[in-house]
Symmetry: C2
């Protein structure tokens, strides 16, 4: 018998788990309640998502037609409230096993499920359920059924996201005056589990903290569990923490953590002679993994939603760390949601543009045409949505309800379309054109290239300030304000002439009068640009001061933001809350990308990694050694002051050093002395 998979309406698995995760956030904490008899109360309230959250379909119909030459059986399963399998017009209930004689068959699976989403499973040969089944709905026909390799057994439940779990003991348990502090030694994520509690049935408070300060500050901590112990046991929802604190409890209990994670293998490796950098690399890897969940999260303490701009950076880090494509694909689908499109992704204009770009980048790094084909109709609909909101001269303009983000930095957002948005849209047109070309949609390709050319010209006309030798934020206010953002994009996306790029480097990048980038979010683009222009010192200084700065303060994962000028618990505050900062934030993992791309120097030079260069650079190190994933293979690179050694199991690689190109043969170690 063929391996069967649970199947569903394509995209509905992602919509469902996205719906759950976006509705999971809670406001909780402890407050002194003046009305209650109890001295303190635990607030535990739903926190509603900040954008439209789409639900999967509750009805689904899938179909497969085939001719069989020999007898076969089909056995039908479904999780739906009502479902049937219709074979050549005859209805069969779930649980039915039907013998098919040689002949032609049309098999239709259809069902309704009020909660969750309807899924089907057929044990069989020709009709084994998998992606060869097609949607046969009143809206759509012919799309491939959704499925994935985590749900292969009839006992699997696609409504339960398949995490792995492992039980962790606290590395230390400390009794304090007020209670007991459990320390897991580093940031973790999972379910707090109590065992052998006495009294067997009781209520107790568990305060979680990413720091010990937070965990023991019960009125300010973000995450407080009102644990209702039954028969000595309790299991919490999954949360982020390093410390758990049980105040004022006179009984006994054993506290564990069921660590929840996805078992994704790392391909990349990095080592150098600077131990701090090695530790940064390891910490970045751990940070990214903690944020790789149903989708790429921004941070695991809060809000655990999926944000397109944040995820966009995680994708790049992931391409330089693992071979996992599933988390990228799930995130892209979650972000898009369901038709009709009525607002920008996460309500943020730039986040819609990143979404389009991310699909071409995905192909560029993975060579997965199928996925591009699957989401291409959504790309077209997204482009239509964007174009329905352009200005009369077909440039981006802010419409009511659009959140123009780019960065937390100050822009003249209200004054008119800002340059960085135009650049992202222009870059999206190019990404769209590349995808269209990949799928032989020449009309769209030509159209998008034409739009991109037009926009590039207009951007260079409208936003370039000759006197300042830089792009200005907007051209309508007359203020001609220069920020780094648009100018960084101009360098990264090659949006202007070599001459103007040089001018940007001089007048913006190295101009101390231009306000610095203050968020690690946009730092990603700045560091990428700095490496692109070859200023590796800037990057290694940042690694030391910014990432190293956190590690020196004891960080076990990379924070949402870091300001070396702050003191003590000041570091943990953000968004007006004492412990509002996320201490495990995905965008902090960018060194993996930077070191892989610019130190080990592995970079695709054509789509789908058909060709790639290896341009190792010691930066400030004496030696570096590591590995980068390339499609299903890898490249390993070793460099010191005397030699470079590379080995890859993939074709298409070229070692580049000092302007000389050395083709690298698959499976053959290449060593050059320098």
């Amino acid at each position: 018998m063929k391996q069967s998979k649970w199947i569903w309406y394509p995209g509905d698995f992602e919509l469902y788990h996205s719906m759950l995760l976006h509705n999971r956030r809670r406001v909780n904490g402890v407050y002194k309640n003046l009305n209650s008899q109890k001295e303190i109360d635990v607030a535990d309230t739903y926190y509603y998502p900040m954008w439209r959250v789409d639900a999967p379909r509750r009805n689904c119909t899938l179909i497969k037609k085939a001719k069989i030459e020999n007898k076969e059986t089909v056995e039908f399963f479904s999780n739906a409230d009502n479902a049937c399998m219709i074979i050549n017009g005859k209805y069969h209930a779930p649980g039915t096993k039907v013998e098919l004689e040689k002949g032609e068959y049309t098999v239709r699976l259809t069902g309704f499920k009020n909660s969750g989403f309807p899924c089907f499973y057929i044990k069989g040969d020709t009709f084994a359920s998998d992606e060869s089944w097609e949607v046969n709905d009143f809206d759509k026909k012919g799309e491939k059924a959704g499925c994935n390799n985590s749900y292969l057994s009839p006992d699997d439940d696609p409504e339960v996201f398949k995490f792995s779990y492992k039980r962790l003991d606290p590395v230390s348990i400390t009794r304090t005056a007020g209670g007991v502090v459990y320390d897991f030694g580093k940031e973790v994520f999972g379910k707090i589990t109590l065992k052998n509690t006495i009294p067997k049935n009781c209520e107790l408070l568990i305060v979680l903290g990413e720091t010990v300060e937070e965990a023991t500050d019960i009125y300010e901590a973000n995450n407080v569990l009102n644990a209702i112990v039954k028969d000595g046991e309790y299991v919490s929802q999954s949360s982020a923490l390093r410390y758990a604190y049980i105040p004022d409890f006179e009984g006994e209990t054993e506290l564990y953590l069921d660590f929840e994670y996805l078992d994704i293998e790392d391909v990349a490796e990095f080592k150098c002679d600077n131990e701090l950098i090695n530790k940064i690399w390891d910490t970045c890897v751990y940070t990214l993994h903690l944020n790789m969940r149903e989708g790429f999260f921004d941070g695991i303490k809060r809000d655990r939603w999926v944000w397109s701009g944040d995820a966009y950076q995680s994708y790049f880090v992931n391409y330089y760390l693992t071979r996992d494509k599933e988390t990228v694909k799930r995130t892209i689908r979650m972000l898009r949601g369901r038709a009709p499109i009525t607002t920008h992704i996460n309500t943020i204009t730039d986040y819609t543009f990143y979404w389009i770009c991310s699909i071409w980048d995905y192909y560029y790094f993975t060579k997965d045409t199928e996925f591009v084909r699957d989401v291409y109709p959504d790309m077209l609909a997204t482009l239509e949505f964007i174009e329905g909101r352009l200005s009369e001269d077909k440039m981006y303009t802010t419409r009511n309800g659009d959140w123009v983000f780019i960065d937390w930095a100050q822009f003249d957002r209200k004054e008119g379309p800002i340059c960085a948005e135009q650049m992202l849209l222009c870059h999206s047109y190019k990404a769209m054109a590349s995808c269209a070309e990949l799928l032989d949609d020449t009309k769209t390709k030509d159209y998008c290239l034409d739009r991109a050319r037009y926009m590039e010209e207009r951007i260079n006309q409208l936003y370039w300030d000759k006197e300042k030798g830089a792009f200005v934020d907007d051209y309508t206010s007359g203020r001609r304000n220069v920020t780094r953002h648009a100018n960084i994009f101009a360098l990264l996306f090659d949006l202007t002439s070599k001459e103007r790029q040089d001018s940007i480097i001089k007048n913006v990048i190295y101009n101390k009068e231009i306000a610095p980038i203050t968020t690690p979010y946009f730092e990603f683009y700045e560091l990428d640009a700095m490496c692109k222009i070859g200023d590796f010192k800037y990057v290694t200084d940042m690694l030391d001061s910014y990432w190293g700065g956190m590690l020196r303060l004891g960080a076990t994962t990379i924070w949402e933001e870091f300001d070396p000028k702050m003191q003590g618990t000041e570091h943990y505050a953000m968004y007006g809350e004492k412990y509002g900062k996320s201490l495990c934030h995905a965008w902090g993992a960018s060194p993996i990308y930077l070191l892989g791309k610019y130190a080990l120097g592995v970079r695709p030079t054509s789509a789908g990694y058909a060709t790639f260069d290896i341009v190792p650079n010691l930066m400030c190190f004496n030696n570096i050694e590591g590995k980068v994933p390339v499609l299903d293979g890898y490249v390993s690179v070793k460099m010191d002051k005397c030699s470079i050694t590379v080995l890859t199991d993939m074709e298409g690689g070229t070692l580049v050093y000092n302007g000389v190109r050395y083709p690298v043969c698959k499976g053959e170690e290449l060593r050059i002395t320098i």
Copy 2:
């Protein structure tokens, strides 16, 4: 405290109950199973809906802003999995009671529910939950919250449709050779209930039938229950039946029916000196009531779905029988479903056109501007959908996936656009224009009137056959075939000149060579047209032969179809099944409409019943007497060969007799001798 109502995203109550009812149909029956040890098996399989079924939202946010002058409390309830009430930014969980001081407040209710749909309830004064709350979503803002008067208590559950129930005993219980037959005396609908069964735990078969032949024909009956009795009791899902049959059961049981219905008051009355007609009237009333459920059903045995063309006729019957607006409004919302529109309603082109017409008709009979305003955005979207599929010359043309129905009769459907569809679209433009005018949308009004004028001209150009003196089905095939359908529409909707109408009456209506209407569905329009042209004899003959014919055969409700030439159980067969015909079909209730409109003669002469004529006509009777609902009032009419008496509690009425118009004063009986 103000009366609060459960509130939800507008339209979601209807979407939810529509989703449930469209997913409730089952294929069941008994078959000899060769593989099973049991001699017979009961098949019980889900039968999937024939069109896209839309689900309600799983996330919903509603808002209300107000300033209060005095202290108030708000107490918050929700059925959602996760919900909160946010008062001026502060989060509160369900179950919370909050005291508000004098001041300005923004209160937001938001929640997520995986199954069903999220609903909210606030006990309070200013903030009592009702239609004064508004949607505040990422898609939409400002739409009134959904609610209805059936869900007023915090204990109510909007996910349970509020039917009334009454327990019925069988009128006779007959032991036959094979088992026991329970007869409820007439067609009923509800839950079969067993009590005091011995053995207390057992399985038994209950075969339902609209006729005794069906109930006792276990292999052919449509509806067979495999009753699993626990503790002596069993309750079935609701079904249609007159007879229940328990074959081969050696134990004992008591069988009842929990009759399920909506308690809707009849306003209309009709009596004449012909007892058969009186019985027809009563039977029609009962038939319509049985089909007034979550929406207007086609038939209660099968399929119990909501069909736009069928419902369209029920609306008219309802306007002449009750003051109930809720069932009409629910049905209209159920039929429309959720954006985006991708297929015609029920996949049938004409059914989309009827849907538009039904909204203007609804206003015409009810004066309910609010509902028109509520569904107007859906009307505009529907028009946009229709217009996106017109031909180049802006006439209707069949697109892939469109079901062109009009009637089961033969048309040249494949040859090109058929005349009757063009006429319905033209009529829809007029209905749309009237709604637009009502809502002061002058642009749409002018546009639609212009389109209607254009279409009327084109229809008269393209489809009129001078030689035949009639409209032909199509103009592309060259066959110039004449059927009654388009010509009936031309008369009913005044789509052509007086001269051509006379020609139609002569060359089509009274031309025996033109194939007769064979379905009771289209008979509705033919009888309406015959009354309009004053041929009451045709109508009373039909009442006697068609409706009377069924009653003579013992019908207790009006059938889906009736052919006097058939014999015995031939009457019950349809769609290739021995008992496939529905014996309680809503469209059979049209005599209520015809007798109210043309015998009692009550007809609105302007929108919203602002003015109305009373044009009584004895037809073939010696005397008639009755009552017709007019908005919140009524008109009662009594006529014999010597006099007419009318009384109404509404203003705007005029008695019309023999061309003379007698104004009728509200509350004053007017009697004229004739």
